[in-house]
């Protein structure tokens, strides 16, 4: 595990709280805990955090630190504790044990100050469905203390950024789920926060919107903001994030830079299989072969991810099987994204 503080691109002049546009009017620099000129405290610092729901332990003595300006991924199987951790960081869930500070402030004692500088988009894109898009952003801006003139300036670019300019007077409830999620992204950006937390932000988005969202996150990171993303789409996270935390059953299995991810046990291999035609039965054909652990459709019946144990799987015979069945293989390439392999080697099957 790698300690990250201090060696990050986000630690740059201009990233100093007080300079950032996220400081809302009325928040005199310095009057908010953690908003001290020259403050180089990490964006997120967690020490010995544990959390339980009734008898189920969601988090077990977690330690991690995310420096400012970092685009950080949070991955793990279902039930690993990702959403619990994010809710604690967003000050929506009280800590039971351990120390958690966000932007230099304690989540328990400075929850409101943190919320002023934090944008949290939950997994469910909850939106005020009776309002129009414009009204919703206007409302959220006003709640964060943005004056009318400032909201006038900020709402249009926010709508533009998420591609909803032409729907500003449409009632939110009439938008599709994907568009509501885009609006959710605009909502968390409207008060120009320093730290953005996204829980499965790409869920329900079409491929174009997903790519645009990822680009947007890069841009935000470039502006000195810290972005924490939880996602199941490992390929995108692998390409996007600077660093990553792998959670499994409430424990941190890895926390560090993407480049430092372990390559698993060296035996796990992820291959991208592309076919000329749709072939829905590919899972049944390939999964029975020796050493094949998983066959997952990617976009359609033409693209699949095959996860296998290299020592047990004869790639040549796998391809031969496909050819014998008349399936035309366009490409069969081992994925270079190490996050998939690391994820498989670091996490266990099923949930506790």
């Amino acid at each position: 595990m790698t300690e990250l503080a201090g060696d990050v691109p986000g630690d740059v002049p201009g990233d100093v709280p007080g300079d950032v546009p996220g400081d809302v009017p009325g928040d005199v620099p310095g009057d908010v805990p953690g908003d001290v000129p020259g403050d180089v405290s990490p964006a997120v610092s967690v020490e010995g955090l544990s959390h339980s729901y009734s008898e189920r332990r969601a988090l077990r003595s977690i330690d991690l630190e995310i420096p400012r300006g970092r685009l950080h991924g949070l991955v793990g199987p279902n039930g690993a504790g990702k959403s619990t951790l994010l809710k604690i960081l967003a000050t929506l869930l009280e800590t039971q044990s351990g120390l958690v500070s966000v932007l230099g402030m304690g989540v328990t004692e400075d929850a409101l100050s943190i919320r002023r500088r934090l944008g949290y988009l939950p997994e469910d894109p909850a939106a005020y469905r009776q309002m129009t898009c414009f009204e919703m952003l206007d409302f959220c801006g006003a709640v964060h203390g943005r004056p009318l003139e400032q909201r006038d300036v900020e709402i249009a670019p926010a709508l533009e950024m998420v591609g909803l300019s032409d729907r500003r007077d449409q009632v939110v409830g009439t938008l599709s789920r994907g568009l509501q999620r885009r609006l959710g992204v605009a909502r968390v950006l409207i008060h120009d926060p320093d730290l953005l937390i996204f829980d499965e932000p790409a869920a329900g988005l079409d491929p174009r919107a997903r790519i645009e969202l990822m680009e947007l996150m890069r841009d935000l990171c470039g502006l000195g903001k810290t972005v924490v993303i939880s996602s199941h789409i490992l390929a995108e996270l692998g390409d996007l994030c600077d660093s990553v935390t792998v959670l499994d059953r409430g424990r941190v299995r890895f926390h560090g830079m993407i480049d430092e991810l372990p390559g698993g046990d060296g035996d796990l291999g992820c291959y991208e299989l592309r076919l000329l035609h749709d072939e829905e039965a590919i899972g049944e054909i390939v999964s029975v072969l020796d050493g094949v652990l998983d066959v997952v459709p990617l976009e359609s019946g033409r693209a699949w991810r095959v996860v296998c144990r290299s020592s047990q799987t004869d790639i040549a015979s796998l391809l031969k099987t496909l050819v014998e069945r008349g399936i035309i293989v366009v490409s069969f390439v081992r994925e270079q994204n190490r996050l998939n392999e690391a994820f498989l080697s670091l996490t266990t099957r099923g949930v506790e």
């Binding site: 009776q130 964060h144 007077d169």
Partner: protein, 570 residues
């Protein structure tokens, strides 16, 4: 060709039956697995058992305690059925509309008949279990004396028939209305008329007759409506029939209906010497009307739900073009710009509640006109210094009427403050704003209070009619106790709306009726003792002030705790 059509119809019926059976089974399974319904039934059985103990104690000094006990159970059940109809039975279809799952069910091949059968029969069954669970206890009334088995059987048959009627009234309103709140409100209104019968409708007929007399300038030909119309009403009806024959016809109908009504039936069954048949005309009437209502619900299902398949919450009369201005003059006329929500205020949560919970400017104007009309029309109809109602009596009616409107509006808003946010899953977002939870609650209440301005404004004007009426009311310690209990009710509604999906208001009313009913003997003694010792009405309010303050503080604490849990769940 005919055979094919018959086959198609048979297949459709079979599909509907299968779907209804599937929904029924699912609901039964879900009901049997959940703890809350069992606890509720157990609590109700406990309540009956408690009544039995009270009846037993009373048997030491009272004749026919069994009859007293049984009569109490009958009325308690009637209240329970009304509450179930308003909260539980009237939301069968509206909750699917609000969740946006109605379209999914229809796409899955669940037709209107299957949906109506599946949704209503499960709820009817679940509610009827409450009647079943108490039946063995009710039989013990025979042992206590004064009641026969026929009476008990007739009582439960009458209640079952009324339950079927209430369920189908609720079902029809839930098909027609878009929101559960509206469906519950309409069901309550209809049930009030169904139960009240002549008691409720006679004053309306009288008011219509009065309006006609006023319009034709005939008010001097008959005596005006007496102050005690509800007691000596029939004589006045005879009098007024001399100039308006239609009144006597309607009065005859109302008399006939009163013979059929549930209230009369329960009075007969709960009285001594009951010797009528088990199945009365009223039972047959209830069942026939139930079937007719079910048929209407089936008939109107498709047209009534056509626009409610998306689950989009209604905006009410709030215009959408908040900034971009007009989009066609016809559109502008129907939703002028000044009806739009406009820009969010500094107290943004109040802005949101005002526009999207109370209905905004449009509802504000509508209520201003409606309450003004109430004041004006009631004065025009009732106030007659020569032969009819004096100014003071009219002032009392205006004051109490407007206070009722304020109370009802306040209760409805309280039930919607958190309910809508929970339903649309936005409460977590709201609680995640950089505002303390207590301020969020206050801002929400402040926003809703703006919706009360028309009623409060007219109340101030109404007070000017005769200030003495107002001061008399204020001087009465019972007014203060009622106000305090209302404050507790509002907090209870707020709390319950964070737990239940629908029916927080009727549930809170029911809980409060039970608590106040049980607590009354406890509070009565210190209240009267203080009054006697201090010879002051003000002192008599003190125990209630303490009790209500403690209740409000506890409820507030529970609300904040619950908000934290809801925020973490989102």
């Amino acid at each position: 060709m005919r055979a094919t059509a018959a086959n198609t119809a048979t297949a459709a019926t079979a599909t509907a039956a299968t779907a209804a059976a599937a929904m029924f089974t699912r609901a039964l399974r879900s009901d049997s697995r959940r703890l809350r319904p069992h606890l509720f039934r157990m609590m109700f059985a406990g309540l009956i058992l408690g009544s039995l103990v009270v009846a037993h104690v009373q048997s030491l000094s009272l004749g026919a305690p069994g009859l007293f006990f049984f009569s109490n159970i009958l009325w308690l059940n009637l209240v329970l059925i009304v509450l179930a109809a308003v909260s539980f039975l009237s939301t069968a279809i509206t909750e699917e509309k609000e969740e946006g799952t109605l379209g999914l069910l229809m796409m899955a091949g669940v037709g209107p008949l299957a949906m109506l059968l599946g949704k209503s029969s499960t709820r009817l069954f679940s509610t009827s279990l409450l009647l079943v669970v108490q039946f063995p206890f009710a039989l013990m009334a025979i042992v206590l004396g004064g009641v026969t088995f026929t009476q008990i059987a007739a009582g439960y048959i009458a209640l079952a028939a009324f339950l079927a009627l209430s369920a189908n009234i609720g079902l029809l309103t839930s098909v027609i209305c878009r929101r559960s709140g509206n469906a519950g409100g309409v069901t309550l209104l209809v049930l009030t008329v169904v139960l009240g019968g002549g008691y409720v409708l006679r004053p309306l007929v009288a008011l219509l007759a009065l309006a006609e007399l006023r319009l034709w300038g005939l008010e001097r030909q008959v005596s005006m409506m007496p102050l005690d119309w509800y007691r000596g009403g029939s004589a006045w009806f005879d009098d007024i029939s001399s100039t308006q024959p239609w009144v006597s016809v309607v009065a005859g109908w109302l008399d006939d209906y009163d013979q059929l009504s549930m209230v009369t039936r329960l009075e007969q069954i709960g009285g001594s010497g009951f010797s009528e048949s088990l199945i009365s005309r009223g039972v047959v009437w209830d069942l026939v009307v139930s079937l007719v209502l079910f048929g209407i619900a089936w008939w109107v299902f498709i047209p009534a739900t056509r626009n409610a398949l998306t689950g989009v919450p209604p905006r009410g009369p709030v215009a959408t073009a908040s900034v971009s201005g007009r989009r066609g003059w016809l559109k502008w006329l129907s939703r002028p710009r000044w009806l739009a929500a406009g820009r969010a205020w500094r107290t943004a949560i109040s802005w949101k509640e005002f526009h999207f919970t109370t209905g905004g400017v449009a509802w504000l104007l509508l209520k201003t006109v409606a309450y003004g009309a109430f004041l004006g029309i009631s004065g025009w109809l009732l106030f007659d210094p020569v032969g009819g109602m004096p100014l003071r009596a009219w002032a009392r009616i205006v004051l109490l009427g407007l206070l009722c409107f304020v109370g009802i509006e306040g209760g409805v808003y309280a039930s919607r403050v958190f309910h809508d946010e929970r339903k649309y899953r936005t409460l977590g977002v709201t609680l995640g704003f950089p505002i303390p939870a207590w301020r969020i609650v206050l801002e929400k209440l402040a926003g809703c209070s703006l919706g009360l301005l028309p009623a409060l404004g007219w109340l101030l004007i109404g007070i000017q009619i005769d200030e003495l009426v107002f001061w008399d009311l204020m001087a009465d310690y019972r007014t203060w106790i009622a106000g305090l209990v209302y404050l507790v009710l509002v907090h209870l509604v707020l709390l319950l709306s964070l737990y239940v999906r629908w029916g927080a208001l009727p549930l809170a009313v029911a809980m409060l009726v039970i608590v106040v009913g049980c607590g009354y003997p406890l509070m009565w003694l210190p209240t009267v003792a203080l009054g006697v010792v201090t010879e002051s009405d003000e002192a008599m309010v003190m125990p209630s002030i303490y009790a209500c303050s403690v209740a409000v503080a506890v409820l507030l604490g529970l609300i904040v705790l619950r908000l934290k849990v809801v925020a973490s769940e989102s």
